[in-house]
Amino acid sequence: MTLKEKLTILADSAKYDASCSSSGSTRKNTGGLGNASYSGICHSFASDGRCISLLKILMTNCCIYDCKYCLNRKSNNIKRAIFTPEEICAITINFYRRNYIEGLFLSSGIIKSPDYTMELMIKTITLLRTKYHFNGYIHAKAIPGASEPLLKKLGKLVDRLSANIELPTSASLKLLAPNKNDNAVTKIMAYVKNNHSKYYVPAGQSTQMIIGATKETDLDIMAKSESLYKSYNLKRVFYSAYIPVNHDKLLPTLQTPPLKRENRLYQADWLLRYYGFTVNDILSPDNPNFNLLLDPKADYALRHLAEFPKEINTANYYELLKVPGIGVTSAKRIIKSRAYFKITFNDLKKMGVVLKRAKYFITCNNRYCLDKSLFKKDFIESNLILENPQIHNSNLTQLSLFHE
């Protein structure tokens, strides 16, 4: 097998992992090759629009497990390959020198045992760090079930160490991934959290959930995320729209992956982490799924219209963040600027506020942008939905007489 064939097989098996961020580490160049960039750098964008910043590969796609949703499960008849540590180093170093990548993302199928697999990964990364003096970013996937001394060793070598929770509830996990249990994953997370320091996994940990393979509602998923953020200090939870790669009677048959739902989950995830929202604010047992027509924040604002409109010149930071069209950056700018001058609608534009959404929910110096009688749920809702260009286009095609 040529190196190119191997790379193709092992990149193809790794591509379903959503995480590709290279941020959060300040690793310096210590006389060798490379350094980390705190903000992270995207080096390319794939045809699906996702960023490529790391060389995302599996060490091997051979696996002793048989998880139903996974391309690399034991019972699948696919081409298998394994990289030697030297091969991984050569590709990483040569890609890095040419500035194709920001570093390495190394995951693996499980061969022999979790410990054996981890040892091979550690050998590879040690080689990269010591023999090749590589100071670039490395994200490694911890293998669930591996022993703590190995977790300790690997964590000291890499910038980010993560384990995928894969499915939002343990019932689903039992159903689709009978060889895995979520205890093994949370054990890794707890270990990484407790040992996290400048020298141990400096860029923190993340995890991933598959969306749409099982029956959970958005509320279940967001509640899981919220508890993960709280208990393990995760940097990110990634949501990955389920793409059917295997046929199994336990798996749903989907025509297209639920990308819009994934998008809404990410929007809500941001609201949790940066906007001071809780899951109970945005979802409830009577209303367990996201509105696909409106983003979660606009949806919240419409359901709590009594709290609005907010006065730009007096509302506090968290009140400003609740307004659709105002983000973290623009809210901070408003707070800073209004100490020096009274803000008008015209100034808001210069501060990066998306006025076409915000205008319904704010007043500037007690002036409302539109006629006050228009401050009604129906009016605002229909206007917000109509502004979405995708909806606009799909409405147009529905009206067409000559629909194919």
Binding site: L3, K4, L7, T8, A11, D12, K15, Y16, N29, G31, G32, L33, G34, N35, S37, S39, I41, C42, H43, S44, F45, A46, S47, D48, G49, R50, C51, I52, S53, L55, K56, I91, N94, F95, R97, R98, N99, Y100, E102, A241, I243, T256, P257, L259, R333, K336, S337, A339, Y340, F341, I343, D347, K350, M351
Partner: protein, 248 residues
């Protein structure tokens, strides 16, 4: 007559001129480099001031962040950048450290916007630059930025690839930055003859194979891809160059 003040195209010279103009309360119609051709109602004025490095030292000590913003605006390709810097500097004297919060002033919102644009482009190109290895082990890359971000890129790669010889060639501004494992040299492309014989393309082929594999077919989204990676940069990104050939 409308007075156009002329500066040599360096940041130091521009600041020297602006400091002089503000000191003597002269309001220029515009400030331009010497290749500016005035129209019927304008006249070019060259003051031949001696560069005053003290002004940069002063700003660095007292207003380091505003200085940074002025520098990024200077690197931009904005046609009005000199005048924007002039008014920014003028208001800096008046409002001092509060200036950056005064976004209702046009010179402030424009400066922040332009400097953001320049930094953004530099950040993007830190990722999009592609080096090829020449036969003499030198890494060579071409870039085509809209703004003059070469110096930002060179400083980035000095930290990242300190043990390599590399050259970054800015085709749009006709500049080269050359690194000899110690220092960065900025050179006009007229003054240099390069032998661009490159070595084997093994790793380029491997990279393109990786790139073609990593995209998920079911999620194809070209609009999104182009939003993040504008087409104007594609000519120097090897994996995209091949995409163009494929679609033709």
């Amino acid at each position: 007559m409308n007075k156009i003040y002329i500066y040599e195209d360096t940041f130091l010279n521009l600041l020297t001129l602006i400091a002089y103009l503000t000191q003597y309360h002269v309001t220029p119609t515009n400030i331009k480099t010497s290749n500016y051709s005035p129209n019927l109602f304008e006249e070019n004025i060259t003051l031949n001031l001696k560069n005053n490095p003290k002004i940069i030292a002063y700003l660095k000590e007292n207003y380091s962040y505003p200085l940074k913003i002025m520098y990024y605006v200077y690197l931009s390709s904005d046609t009005n950048k000199e005048l924007i810097i002039y008014y920014f500097y003028l208001n800096l004297q008046k409002y001092r450290h509060q200036l950056l919060n005064m976004r209702n002033l046009k010179c402030v919102s424009a400066s922040l916007k332009i400097s953001h644009y320049v930094q953004n482009e530099a950040h993007k190109l830190k990722g999009f630059i592609r080096f090829t290895e020449l036969t003499n082990k030198v890494l060579y890359a071409k870039v085509n930025p809209t703004n003059n971000v070469l110096i930002i890129l060179a400083n980035h790669f000095k930290k990242r690839l300190p043990n390599e010889y590399w050259i970054i060639h800015d085709e749009n501004h006709h500049l080269l930055s050359i690194y000899d494992k110690k220092n960065i040299y900025l050179i006009n492309e007229k003054n240099l003859q390069l032998n661009l014989q490159s070595t084997s393309t093994t790793y380029e082929d491997l990279w393109c194979a990786f790139y073609d594999t990593i995209g998920i077919k079911e999620r194809k989204n070209i609009r999104c891809q182009m939003n993040f990676m504008p087409k104007k940069y594609w000519s120097n990104i090897i994996e995209m160059r091949n995409q163009n050939e494929k679609s033709n």
